[in-house]
């Protein structure tokens, strides 16, 4: 495998009406690399992901994907209509033609194997995000694209989820492009942090990005100082069952 990027967007421009949402954005993900995209609400993070995934057209720039690239996509938290009777195993299997054993393996990898026969609507926020990740992993992706994977998950669950993402990268060797609006939980295990606000404000290693003047300008001087990097903790283990009771019914979205 070469180090050529799995996916590379160059000079991406995206407009809605007269408003320029993305202004000449460059972003690339190499194999085995975790790139975290942060920025305030309305910074165009999801718009950029959709453009990279080919879900929306561009008003300028190019997106190059490695030939035959398999993408595992985890969209922003969403609700499934109560009128659709759907169990977890079936939901995950919608990704394509997969044997039950493969589905069981994917669910086990993210720690929710026991929920295979549960209705998807009955999952807690953390469980649902894990199930989404399992569906993305089922396709054996070379690139994982995760849009706010920790949304609707409590703080302990977020820790565990970011751990899981980093472990998945290690075991599968895939590239990861991760979006977060949460400044305080930038993964320490990111290789690169990209700070977006319509354009790329700054980019760098997670340890140093908080000291970048552009970062301070965008998020306020104190944000950089208080920026809490998530650190991998070896002294305790979480799994989905620890936070079973933290249901998130609201189905809210952050812009």
């Amino acid at each position: 495998m070469s180090d050529a990027p799995l996916i590379a967007g160059r000079g991406i421009v995206k407009r809605f009406e007269e408003r320029t949402v993305l202004d000449r954005v460059d972003v690339a993900v190499a194999p085995g690399e975790i790139v975290t995209l942060i920025g305030p609400n309305g910074a165009g993070k999801t718009v950029l992901l959709r453009a990279l995934l080919g879900l929306a057209g561009l008003d300028g720039g190019t997106v190059e994907r490695r030939a035959g690239l398999i993408v595992g996509y985890m969209p922003q938290k969403f609700a499934i209509d109560e009128n659709l009777p759907l169990r977890v195993g079936r939901f995950v299997g919608l990704a394509g033609r997969f044997a039950t054993a493969e589905i069981e393996k994917a669910l086990a990898e993210v720690g929710v194997a026991a929920r295979i026969d549960a209705p998807v609507q009955g999952l807690s926020g953390g469980e649902f995000q894990r199930v989404l990740l399992a569906r993305a992993l089922l396709r054996k992706p070379q690139l994982l694209v995760l849009d706010e994977p920790a949304q609707g998950v409590d703080v302990i669950g977020q820790d565990a989820l970011y751990d899981l993402v980093a472990n998945v990268r290690d075991t599968h060797g895939c590239g990861v492009l991760l979006v977060s609006h949460d400044l305080h939980l930038v993964m320490a295990r990111s290789d690169r942090v990209l700070c977006l606000n319509g354009h790329v404000c700054c980019t760098g290693r997670p340890e140093t990005i908080g000291k970048d003047p552009a970062f301070a300008e965008l998020f306020g001087a104190r944000a950089g100082e208080s920026l809490a990097l998530y650190r991998h903790r070896h002294d305790h283990v979480h799994d989905a069952h620890d936070h079973h009771h933290h249901h998130d019914h609201a189905g809210h979205t952050h812009g």
Partner: protein, 261 residues
């Protein structure tokens, strides 16, 4: 019992077989208004069939297919709320149909029959059309099932996984168009959506998978057809509304029975 009654029963069961699965998707995709608008356009198909001297069923199916495609394109672009746009289109189409029918002089058009259905007037050719349409619709639906389900759950996710989302959406509304043409004779334009939505909604509480909901909905629809027709003969009531009422009774009963999960 008379032959016309047996034909009516078979027609109702044939319609229920396709309306159950398709109606489940209508419920999941929240497209009841869309189905209604489509059904309202069918009357124009009837008028065109008479005016252009083509088979009325074919004219209805063709017109509904065109209307469904236009409606889908409009919904994707319009700034109006979908229910407002669908209302405008539904009543415009219905009115155009009624005006057009007023020009059909050479044939006495049984308007009430087209509005509310005239299942007891189903002939052999109608029966062949209903069962043929239902079988073709079910075959296509079966082929597209998983992809259609994936698009229904999350369109972007399905697109990234390689599903052609616009094609699936179009295929689904074309299936609805076929259903409207098939259902016209039985329940009429004003009651088509009832036969899609009510059995599916009644089935929800007993279903544990999408497929079982579709199958149970088909079963409830078939039961409602038989019960409604028997009642219609017994009490001399109009057949279409009687079938819909029977379905509504099953729905009401489903609310009382305990839910399985």
């Amino acid at each position: 019992m008379d032959e016309f009654f047996w034909r009516a029963l078979l027609a109702g069961i044939g319609l229920a077989a396709i309306a159950g699965p398709l109606g489940s998707f209508v419920v999941w995709r929240r497209m009841a208004f869309f189905g209604d608008a489509l059904a309202h356009s069918a009357l124009l198909g009837v008028a065109l069939g008479f005016l252009l001297h083509i088979e009325v069923n074919v004219a209805i199916a063709a017109l509904c297919a065109v209307f469904a495609t236009l409606l889908t394109a409009m919904l994707a672009r319009a700034r109006l709320a979908p229910d407002t746009l669908l209302s405008i289109c539904a009543f415009t189409a219905l009115s155009v149909g009624l005006v057009a029918l007023s020009f059909v002089e050479e044939v006495r058009v049984d308007l009430v029959g087209y509005l509310f259905g005239d299942i007891l007037a189903v002939g052999r050719a109608d029966l062949a059309w209903i069962w043929g349409g239902a079988a073709a619709g079910l075959a296509v639906l079966g082929l597209l099932w998983r992809n259609l389900l994936a698009v229904t759950v999350h369109a972007d996710l399905a697109a990234v996984e390689g599903v052609n989302v616009p094609a699936m959406r179009l295929a689904f509304v074309l299936l609805l168009a076929i259903l409207v043409a098939v259902a016209m004779k039985i329940v009429g334009v004003l009651l088509v959506t009832a036969l899609l939505v009510i059995p599916a909604a009644a089935a929800r509480r007993f279903a544990r998978s999408p497929e079982s909901m579709a199958a149970i909905a088909a079963g409830i629809g078939a039961f409602a057809s038989v019960a409604g027709l028997l009642a219609s003969v017994e009490f001399d009531t109009p057949s279409g509304p009687s079938v819909v009422l029977a379905a509504a009774c099953v729905f009401a009963a489903s609310l009382i029975l305990p839910q399985r999960r």
